[in-house]
C-alpha cells in the first residue's frame, strides 16, 4: 500500500488530480453546511456577475439564484451520478466479460454478440431514448448512463480474463481441485482488478460528461441542481452572461480532468511495468 502511494505520488499530474478531486468531494460533502439554503432559492437580483455583490462570489443566475450554491450542490449530483452509474456498469460488464473470457465458446460468442450489439447503437442516442422513455429522474439517468457505458468494461475484462486464464497459476488452481467460480473470482478477477480500477476512474469522468450532456438537452432531473443543468439553463443567456455557462463548465472540466489524471496515476502505480514505457 505504501509502495502504491509512493508510486502514485511520483506522478505529479496524479497528485494535482487527487487534490482537485478531494476538493470537489469535500465541497459536495459539505454542501449542506456551506449553503444550507436550497440552491433553487431566488436570493438576489438576477444576472449578478461574479464578485459584484458581497456574499455572492460567483454571482446569480437568470432567476437570481446563487451560482456558488448551485455549483456546490451540483457537485454532489455529478459525483453521485458518476460513481453510481460506473458501479452499475461494472456490475453488468465485469461478470459478463469474465464469463465470456473464462468459459469461451458459445458463452463467449453470445456475450460478445450482445456487447457488440450495444456498441453498435450510438451510445449517446441510446441514452437519450432511454431517459426519454423512463422519464428523467436521477435514478433513470444513472441507469441509462450505466446501460450505455458497460460494453467497454466487458471487453476489457474479457481480454484480461482471456490472457489470465492461460496463466499457469490458474492451471495450478485447477489441479488443486478448485471450482470454476472459485478460480474465476478468487484467482483471475483479483488479478484483473488494476486495469478495471483504472478504467473505472475514467468511466466516472465520462459519466459526468454524459450526465451534463443529457441535462444540456433538457433531459436532466428538474428537481436536482446539476452542473449540466446549470450550463443548459445558461446557454440561452450565453451572450449576456457568459459566466453562467463558463463556471459550471470549468467545474466539469476540472473534475473530469482530475479523474483522468488520477486514472493515469493509478495506471502508473498499479502497472509499474507499463508505466516505465508510458512516462
Amino acid at each position: 500500500m505504501m509502495d502504491f502511494l509512493k508510486r502514485f505520488s511520483r506522478n505529479r499530474g496524479a497528485v494535482i488530480g487527487a487534490v482537485i478531486l478531494i476538493t470537489v468531494v469535500l465541497l459536495a460533502v459539505l454542501a449542506p453546511l456551506l449553503y444550507p439554503e436550497s440552491p433553487w432559492k431566488m436570493v438576489q437580483r438576477p444576472f449578478l456577475p461574479p464578485f459584484s455583490v458581497e456574499g455572492f462570489p460567483l454571482g446569480t443566475d437568470t432567476l437570481g439564484r446563487d451560482v456558488a450554491s448551485g455549483l456546490v450542490h451540483g457537485a454532489r449530483v455529478s459525483l453521485i451520478v458518476g460513481l453510481v452509474s460506473t458501479l452499475v456498469a461494472l456490475l453488468i460488464g465485469v461478470p459478463l466479460g469474465a464469463f465470456a473470457g473464462f468459459y469461451g465458446g458459445l458463452v463467449d460468442d453470445g456475450a460478445m454478440r450482445f456487447t457488440e450489439f450495444f456498441q453498435t447503437i450510438p451510445n449517446f442516442a441510446l441514452a437519450i431514448v432511454l431517459v426519454a422513455i423512463m422519464e428523467p429522474t436521477l435514478p433513470t439517468i444513472t441507469l441509462a448512463i450505466a446501460i450505455v457505458s458497460w460494453p467497454p468494461v466487458a471487453r476489457l475484462v474479457r481480454a484480461e480474463v482471456l490472457s489470465l486464464r492461460k496463466r499457469e497459476f490458474v492451471d495450478a488452481a485447477r489441479l488443486a481441485g478448485l471450482s470454476n467460480t472459485r478460480i474465476l473470482f478468487g484467482h483471475i478477477l483479483p488479478n484483473a482488478m488494476s486495469p478495471i480500477i483504472v478504467m473505472a476512474s475514467l468511466m466516472v469522468a465520462t459519466a459526468i460528461l454524459l450526465e451534463s450532456s443529457l441535462s444540456f438537452l433538457g433531459l436532466g432531473d428538474p428537481n436536482i441542481m446539476s452542473w449540466g443543468y446549470m450550463i443548459g439553463a445558461a446557454r440561452t443567456v450565453i451572450r449576456s452572461a457568459w459566466w453562467l455557462s463558463f463556471i459550471p463548465g470549468v467545474a466539469i472540466l476540472l473534475t473530469v480532468l482530475a479523474l483522468n489524471l488520477i486514472g493515469e496515476g493509478l495506471n502508473d502505480a498499479l502497472n509499474p511495468r507499463l508505466a516505465r514505457k508510458g512516462r
Binding site: S38, W40, K41, M42, P46, T62, L63, G64, A132, E135, P136, T137, G218, L219, G220, D221, P222, N223, G232, A233, R235, T236, V237, I238, R239, S240
Partner: protein, 514 residues
C-alpha cells in the same frame, strides 16, 4: 342591423401611408420548430401557420382591435337575425397552379375538408346549418342559431381555403400535393430543405395590384435558441417571430441599433398562460389549496425576471385583450402569509404536488422552477416532473398531474377560446385541450351556453362578467400571465404586422425600405 364593408374603404384605410412601398428584396424569418407540414388545412400548429399563412388565405383578416377586414372576401353581410352570413369574393383570384378560385372552393373547404380535419373549427361549424354558393363569387353560411363569435372564425388558421380541384375525392391526409402546398396567398411554395429552410417566392399573379412586395422569403430552421439569437445578430435572419428567442435575449436584441420590435399581432390569439390544477383529487381538489397556490406565486417576479417585463399578470380566465374581459374580480396578489393561512386552514399534510412544466424551452422550465420554489416557501411540497412534448400532452390528457402549465389561445372571443376549459361537458380523457382540470359547475355551464348565443354584445358582457367573477373565486386553474411575444425585426422592414394574427397572417403588406 346591416353591416356592409367594401374593399375600397378598407384598403384605403390600411394603406394609410400612401408613400409608395419599395418592391423587392428578401426576408429571412426564423421558424421554430420546423413545421411538420405546410398543409394548413391538416395541421394548424404555430410554425405551420407562420409559413403557410403566406400560402393559404381565408375569407377575412382581423385588425389589431379584432375588427374583420377583407381578405378573399371583398365584402360581407350579416342578416339582422344573425343567422345568415353572405360573403362576396374577390374576382380574378387564382390558385398557385393557375386554376381559378371560386365559391365552390369555399364550400368544399368548409363543408367537406375542414369539417373532417379541423377539430377547432368543427366546434363552430356545429352551429352552421348550411354553406352554399349561389354563384361563383358568393358564399352563404346559414346558422342554426345566433352565434356571436362566428364572425371571428374566418381567419387563415381557423378556416384556410383549400383547392377543391386537388383534394376532392382524395384521401386528404395522404394526398401527395400536401408536400407542395397550393393556396391563393401572396407567396408560393418553392422549396423545402428539411432541417434547414423553407423557401417561398412572390406570387406574381396575386389579385391585389402591386402586392406582395417582397421577392422571396426564407423561413430558417435553427433548432437552438441561442443560435437563433446569434443568427439575428449576425444579420442572417431579419425577423424573429414571437417566442423564437428566449426572453433574456429579447431585451438585448431590441436594444441593438436598427432593431425594432412590436408586441402587436397576437391580439387574436391572446395567449393566456395558466396552470391546470387537478380539481378531482389530491390537495388541488381543495379550493383553499388552489387559492393558496395563487397567493404563493410571485407572478410579478415571473413577469419581470422570466418574461423580462413583457406581458401582464392575468387576473381572469379572459385575457384583457379579448372582448368581454372584466377586472371586477377578486385579485390574487403575492401574499405568502395568506397562502400559509389557507394551507393551515385546510390542514395540508405535506402531500407531494407534481408540477408538470411546459416543455417549450428554457423560459417555461425556469417558470416551473420558480413556481416550485414559491410553493415550497409557503410549505407546499412540490416537485417538478420532467417530460417532453409527448409526455406533457399525454399526462394532461390522462389527468396524470397535480399542476400543469399550459397556455391557451383566446381566439378573440370567450366562447371560442375560454369556455372550452371550464365546461363540465368538456371533461374527457384523451385530449389536452378540453377541461383538463376537471372543473364542474352547472351554473357556469349554463352561463357559458347562454353567453355564446346571446343576441347583443352588451348582453354577452353581462354574462361573461358574472362567469369571470365565479371562476376567479373558484380558481379551477391558476391564471398566470397574459403572454406577450414581441416580434423582433430590422427597422427597415415595414408593415410586417398589420393584423391581429401578426406575421402568421402572411406578409402580404410587408416591404423593405431601400
Amino acid at each position: 342591423m346591416k353591416k356592409i364593408f367594401t374593399t375600397s374603404i378598407l384598403s384605403m384605410g390600411l394603406a394609410m401611408p400612401v408613400a409608395a412601398q419599395d418592391a423587392g428584396g428578401r426576408l429571412d424569418i426564423v421558424v421554430q420548430p420546423e413545421p411538420p407540414s405546410l398543409m394548413l388545412g391538416l395541421v394548424q400548429n404555430g410554425p405551420t401557420q407562420l409559413v403557410a399563412g403566406d400560402i393559404y388565405e381565408s375569407l377575412l383578416r382581423y385588425d389589431t382591435d379584432l375588427n374583420p377586414q377583407p381578405s378573399l372576401a371583398k365584402s360581407w353581410e350579416i342578416s339582422d337575425d344573425a343567422l345568415t352570413y353572405t360573403f362576396k369574393l374577390h374576382e380574378g383570384v387564382t390558385w398557385h397552379d393557375g386554376e381559378p378560385f371560386t365559391a365552390e372552393d369555399v364550400v368544399f373547404s368548409v363543408d367537406k375538408f375542414l369539417r373532417e380535419t379541423h377539430a377547432r373549427l368543427r366546434v363552430s361549424l356545429a352551429h352552421v346549418e348550411s354553406v352554399t354558393a349561389p354563384d361563383d363569387h358568393t358564399v352563404v353560411f346559414k346558422l342554426k342559431n345566433p352565434f356571436g363569435p362566428f364572425i371571428g372564425v374566418f381567419e387563415a388558421g381557423t378556416m384556410p381555403m383549400v383547392p377543391k380541384h386537388i383534394y376532392e375525392g382524395t384521401d386528404y391526409a395522404n394526398n401527395p400535393a400536401n408536400n407542395t402546398p397550393i393556396g391563393t396567398g401572396p407567396y408560393k411554395f418553392e422549396a423545402w430543405e428539411k432541417g434547414s429552410y423553407i423557401h417561398l417566392v412572390k406570387n406574381e399573379d396575386y389579385y391585389l395590384e402591386g402586392q406582395p412586395y417582397l421577392d422571396e422569403i426564407y423561413y430558417r430552421v435553427i433548432p437552438d435558441a441561442a443560435a437563433r439569437a446569434v443568427a439575428f445578430e449576425n444579420g442572417e435572419v431579419d425577423v424573429l417571430p414571437g417566442g423564437s428567442v428566449e426572453n433574456w435575449d429579447v431585451q438585448r436584441l431590441t436594444q441593438m441599433d436598427g432593431v425594432c420590435s412590436t408586441g402587436q399581432g397576437w391580439e387574436y390569439f391572446a395567449p393566456h398562460a395558466m396552470a391546470w390544477m387537478n380539481n378531482r383529487e389530491g390537495p388541488t381538489a381543495d379550493t383553499r389549496f388552489r387559492k393558496a397556490v395563487m397567493y404563493a406565486m410571485d407572478r410579478e417576479f415571473v413577469k419581470d425576471v422570466i418574461w423580462n417585463g413583457f406581458g401582464k399578470v392575468a387576473t381572469s380566465p379572459v385575457s384583457s385583450k379579448t372582448n368581454f374581459y372584466t377586472d371586477d374580480t377578486i385579485m390574487y396578489d403575492h401574499n405568502p402569509d395568506k397562502a400559509r393561512e389557507l394551507l393551515a386552514d385546510m390542514g395540508y399534510d405535506g402531500e407531494a404536488v407534481r408540477i408538470l412544466p411546459l416543455p417549450y424551452g428554457e423560459t417555461w422550465q425556469r417558470w416551473a422552477e420558480a413556481m416550485k420554489q414559491n410553493l415550497s416557501e409557503v410549505g407546499i411540497n412540490a416537485e417538478v416532473v420532467a417530460t417532453d412534448v409527448a409526455g406533457w400532452n399525454q399526462k394532461q390528457a390522462e389527468w396524470d398531474f397535480d399542476i400543469a402549465f399550459t397556455y391557451l389561445y383566446q381566439y378573440g372571443d370567450p366562447a371560442l377560446g375560454v369556455a372550452r376549459s371550464y365546461l363540465s361537458t368538456n371533461i374527457a380523457k384523451g385530449s389536452p385541450w378540453n377541461n383538463v382540470a376537471g372543473y364542474a359547475n352547472e351554473e357556469v355551464d349554463a352561463m357559458f351556453a347562454e353567453a355564446a348565443v346571446a343576441a347583443t354584445p352588451e348582453a354577452r358582457q353581462e354574462i361573461y362578467t358574472e362567469i369571470q367573477q365565479t371562476l376567479v373565486d373558484d380558481v379551477p386553474v391558476a391564471w398566470l400571465l397574459e403572454i406577450e411575444f414581441p416580434t423582433i425585426y430590422r427597422c427597415e422592414v415595414k408593415d410586417l404586422v398589420t393584423t391581429a394574427i401578426g406575421i402568421n397572417d402572411g406578409l402580404r403588406d410587408a416591404w423593405i425600405e431601400k
